[in-house]
């Protein structure tokens, strides 16, 4: 029972981890990207549409990633070039994506709410030979599909990029002190654009996993605010990839529990689903108190709107 929940927690956390990796790259570059859900939903749609048409998983995933990156480029264009406020533009892009996918669901696949088909290929579970036989852990780690492993392997890769490469150093400096980066000859706008595109890439994988890996169907608004939960994880972990992934896993576990626990105990699922959001609000309050204490000593403009 517990290992079953743990197994599904790993599965459920996969799109969260992808989305969180995408979100934390822009976060590190100083952009709070709230359009993760929008990126994911177009990717989920494009993936399943192309996989259905071509019966190829690879093409499906590629189409998902490409569509998500196009949307990311659009958001970056409006935010960086046209100076649209990232939150408003992000909300607009997200709801546009929800609407567009629902529009195309009807217009192209001729379905109202949910699309599914036997023609859609599925990912095969991968049994890892040696690990499979380890007691307890083996059953948890082995037997997932390819994208699950990719998600968890991306965490150290992203961490390496952020903390060990020139690009990562520049991204982090841009996020903290844009003028310092600009003065050192770093092309700030290009770097931000790159992080936004990568955000699209990871959300594309998240979306593709949602519609092709996690389930084999597309439903409108199927991301179910996973982007927001990912964002909450990023906030809570202050953008560190390992911690963000850990928190995302924790939030995913809460979701897994919220599916399984009520069957046993009669507990309302909503109470567990609340956890990510409530935790984020509480952590923001703590940070707020700390910063306010620091400001209080000698701050000019003691109130900023």
């Amino acid at each position: 029972m517990i290992s079953e929940i743990a197994f599904s927690a790993i599965r459920i956390s996969t799109p969260l981890i992808f989305a969180a990796l995408g979100g934390l790259l822009t976060f590190q570059a100083g952009i709070l990207n709230i359009a993760l859900d929008g990126f994911m939903i177009v990717a989920a749609f494009a993936s399943i549409g192309v996989a259905f048409a071509t019966e190829s998983l690879l093409l499906g995933v590629l189409a998902g990633v490409a569509s998500s990156m196009v949307l990311a480029a659009l958001l970056a264009l409006f935010n960086l070039r046209f100076r649209a406020h990232i939150f408003i533009a992000g909300i607009a892009v997200t709801f546009m994506a929800y609407g567009l996918t629902a529009l195309l669901l009807k217009g192209v696949l001729n379905e109202e709410g949910v699309f599914s088909s036997d023609r859609i290929p599925t990912f095969a579970p991968i049994d890892i030979p040696v690990i499979r036989d380890i007691p307890v852990i083996g059953a948890l780690i082995s037997g997932h599909t390819l994208l699950v492993y990719i998600a968890y392997l991306c965490v150290p890769v992203v961490a390496w990029c952020l903390y060990r490469t020139r690009w990562g150093l520049r991204v982090r400096v841009v996020g903290e002190a844009e003028d310092a980066a600009a003065a050192a000859g770093v092309n700030v706008e290009r770097l931000k654009f790159e992080t936004m595109l990568l955000s699209g890439l990871f959300c594309g994988l998240a979306g593709a996993y949602l519609s092709l890996g996690y389930v084999s169907l597309f439903a409108k608004q199927m991301t179910n605010e996973r982007g927001l939960i990912a964002l909450a994880a990023i906030f809570f972990a202050k953008g560190n990839p390992y911690w963000t992934a850990a928190v995302a896993l924790l939030f995913g576990t809460a979701t897994a529990l919220s599916i399984r626990l009520p069957q046993l105990t009669g507990l309302a699922p909503q109470l567990l689903q609340l956890i990510p959001y409530v935790v984020t609000v509480l952590s923001l309050i703590i940070v707020g108190i700390r910063n306010t204490r620091a400001r209080h000593r000698h701050g000019v403009w003691r109130f900023e709107i």
Binding site: G30, L32, I34, F78, R81, F82, R83, A84, H85, F87, I88, A89, I91, A92, V93, F95, M96, Y98, G99, L100, A102, L103, L104, L105, K106, G107, V108, N110, E178, K220, E225, L228, L231, A232, F235, A268, Q270, L271, Q273, L274, Y277, V278, T280, V281, L284, I285, V287, G288, I289, N291, T292, R295, W301, F303, E304, I305
Partner: protein, 376 residues
Amino acid sequence: MSTEAIAPPRPGPPLRALLRPVVGPLVAIVIATLVGAALVAALGQNPIEVYSTLIEGGIVGWPNLSVALQMTTPLIFTGLAVAVSFHAGLWNIGAEGQMLVGALAAGIVGYAVPLPPVLHVPACLIAAAFGGLLWASVPALLRVYLNVNELVICLMMNPIALLATGFVATHALKAPGPTNKLPDILDSAVLPNFSLFSQLNAGIFIALACCVAVAIVNAMTVRGFEWRIMGLSPRFAYYGGVNVRRNAVAVMLISGAIAGLGGAEQVLGVYKAFYDNFSPGYGFDGIAVAMLANSNPIGVLFAAFLFGALSAGSGVLQMMTGVSKYLVQVLQFIIVLVLAAQFSFAWLFGRKPAKPSARVSVARSVEERTGTEKVG
């Protein structure tokens, strides 16, 4: 001082001044229409046919019009809620959550507190306003006293509201039966319906009254004056002795209360009970309404009607042609995206766009920032 050399007061250019607030929204609407047409054409439909069905289904004939007005009503509430906050330079994007909590409060008072009809509706409305206000107080107080960005808190408060009200409707106070809802409200709490063709109800007059009230406050009172200054230049307001903290809290609370009233209208007038997850995103549509209305309370009426009529028309569209009603949502948020980028209009006309500062500021105050670069 020489008193002779007074320049005669320049008469402001009346036509341009009149057109200025309308040009941006019009451009956005035109762009959205064109993009939408391209989309429709790509789906193999005739754009002109689709748009005419949309407009016809939205406003032609009382049956259609009454649906349009029914759809308009919640958008007025949420649009006005968002507009009130934008006007004062605050970003209340939590109208969705505030509306849900308000609706829940109205739903509970509506079924659980038997009162005579004269008192019951007001009691429900007050409960709803208070619910929305309570929900808005979290971002408001955190914003003002801990300097926590209200946008992020609002963003998180929305799903919290959805899940919390969902918990109440599916567990705590669930009505018997398969549907996730509270028990039906008592007849004494029902807002009278006056259309056979839709759920259009007396709530629309409450919405109108709210718009007029906000318009009066904004244009004629001391508070409205202070909020306007805060929205355009918070530092100036603070320097000039405006109690910025208290005003900011007040604005957020009022904004939340209006959103809460929107929830009451849905429960008392449309659904006659609180249903889990009833809102298709009215709170977010409110952002679109407020952006299109440029935060003007009277403009909110027009913007809400535009989107309300479009979504009424979209129902007809879906029935008559094969085009999904979500076309309207796409159009709506293309408009928001274009309006969010409005400073680039200045850039189109040859001025450099302002660089957004790190801290949050309202689009309207961008003009303020463009002219203030210090010289070497």
